[in-house]
Amino acid sequence: MYLQLQNLTKQFDNITAVNDMNVNIKKGELVSLLGPSGCGKTTTLKMIGGFLKPTRGKVILDGIDITNLEPEKRPITTVFQSYALFPHMNVQENVGYGLKYRKQYSKKAAREKVDEMLDMVGLKDFARQNVTKLSGGQQQRVAFARALILNPKVLLLDEPFSNLDAKLRVKMRNEIKELQKKIQITMIFVTHDQEEALSISDRIVIMNDGVIVQIGSPKDIYTNPKNQFVADFIGRVNTLKLGEKTLLIRPENIAITSEDTGHNGKIIQKQYMGPYTTYFIKIGEQTIQADISSITDEAWEIGESVNIKFM
């Protein structure tokens, strides 16, 4: 394994922020740490980056124990949530900043590498612009370029899209994924946005209260959530009590039909969402949500009595 977290634990005074965490990450893999705020995901990232010393446990990168190395000695760079661009420098000064401290680059070689990097992130025309004058998406790209130019073995990302608006977030997400595939870099990605984690990750580590709740591919986790917490956190879920049994079922896995299925209910509300319509159906005392694809939707009315079936 390329990057190993072994029994990683961090205590602050009496609070255990991260408890006995074990994760193995392959080379070139993109792994998300996903969880609500305060779940320990950022603390974990800081321990990998070296900004926090673990109370117990090890961080092993490419066979070498880096647990006690200073951040600057690790072949790891971080893109911070706030981007942390140097406000008094222009784009190329920001991107090239790290190269100044790498002896192997002559001034000319450094300049060429900066140009190449700016080209890659599509900011060639902004080289001399001050970073504070850029849009959120452009600042984001500068932060990436500045981190990637050092050819780190691992790139850490701390909620990098949280300052962007919805459409731009989706666009940047795709760009980063492309970039990651192209240069085959190992990335660890902290987020609280489940959609982001699903769409970008090779694997997701779901955390809560400082411990790992589930590790798996996006599909694993979405289709086989280990417990109610994971099911609720990733996507929407109906918790339906049928006699003694409790069923966790996704809204898109419910169909509405007029034939008798034994599960009878009444439509109390509907919301058109474009690709599908969400029906709010009251079954006994419980209300469930069913997402009916617009292609198969038979346009049931509010007040109508219907049967549901599970798929």
Partner: protein, 276 residues
């Protein structure tokens, strides 16, 4: 456009009314000891280089005041700036000094005058360098240690607060980023921390210079002073030359405004990246 012009016109109404009122009262009272005529004041500016009744010419008094304020200001900045920066940089240093500084802060700088006079007496740069008696000695004797000390005091507090606040508020991620990119502590300090704290540091320096100028003028008004703008206005009053008092006050205001303007320019030039 039309709105901007209207605003400009409006903004001149009160100053013009003020000047008119002055002119009318001056003529009605006809007592130059209480309110001089405007043209008398203007006349003083036209003959600015005259030696007014033994008080020295206006430019000479301005220069003496300026050198004084700059001497004291430099002393204050040399102490306050590094201290403030280190206080912002290391919490332990801040802990060490902040209680002490905050205890001294509410004492107005001028209150130190009697104590400082007891320490330095009338010692001046002339005494220090042992300048022999003569015009040179008279000039250097203007720069008394006591005055420099007081102005330094006036400078100290705004500068130390601005620097400490600025450095403390540089985002931690900025420093961590620079560290990860391989910058040495020395480079982080000088190339990241100080420039990023720049706007607040400049703001402190600006406040310090304003405070220094205020202290200086006040200090020059105290007994024992023999030149400077503060001296000019006090002694012009004693000689019942109210026109000269007004002239002096205008000079004090203009010089104060110009000193402040230096920082406006520096801010615009160096910290254009702040403009959002």
């Amino acid at each position: 456009m039309s709105k901007a012009i209207r605003n400009t016109i409006t903004s001149f109404i009160v100053p013009i009314l003020f000047i008119f009122t002055w002119a009318i009262f001056a003529t009605k009272l006809n007592n130059p000891m209480i309110l001089p005529q405007i043209n008398q004041v203007l006349n003083n500016f036209v003959h600015a280089t005259d030696d007014f009744i033994g008080l020295g010419s206006i430019p000479r008094n301005i220069i003496v005041s300026l050198i004084r304020v700059l001497l004291g200001y430099c002393v204050g900045v040399i102490i306050a700036l590094p201290l403030g920066i280190f206080m912002g940089y290391k919490e332990s240093i801040s802990n060490l000094f902040s209680k002490f500084i905050n205890t001294l802060r509410p004492v107005p700088a001028l209150s130190w005058v009697p104590l400082v006079l007891a320490w330095f007496g009338l010692a001046s740069l002339a005494t220090f360098f042992g300048v022999p008696y003569g015009p040179k000695q008279v000039f250097f004797d203007n720069f008394k240690f006591a005055m420099i000390f007081i102005i330094g005091m006036g400078t100290f507090f705004p500068v130390v607060s601005g620097a400490a606040f600025g450095v403390k508020n540089v985002p931690k991620t900025l420093i961590e980023s620079a560290k990860v990119l391989g910058a040495s502590n020395r480079d982080i300090f000088f190339k990241i921390l100080i420039p990023a704290a720049g706007p607040n540091i400049i703001n402190g320096l600006r406040g310090g210079l304003g405070s220094a100028w205020g202290c200086l003028v006040a200090a020059e008004m105290l007994p024992g002073s023999l030149s400077g703008l503060g001296y000019l206005i006090t002694h012009a009053y004693e000689l019942a030359r109210t026109d000269l008092v007004v002239t002096g006050i205008i000079c004090i205001g203009v010089v104060g405004a110009l000193l402040d303007y230096i920082f406006v320019v520096v801010e615009k030039r160096r910290f254009s990246w702040l403009g959002r």
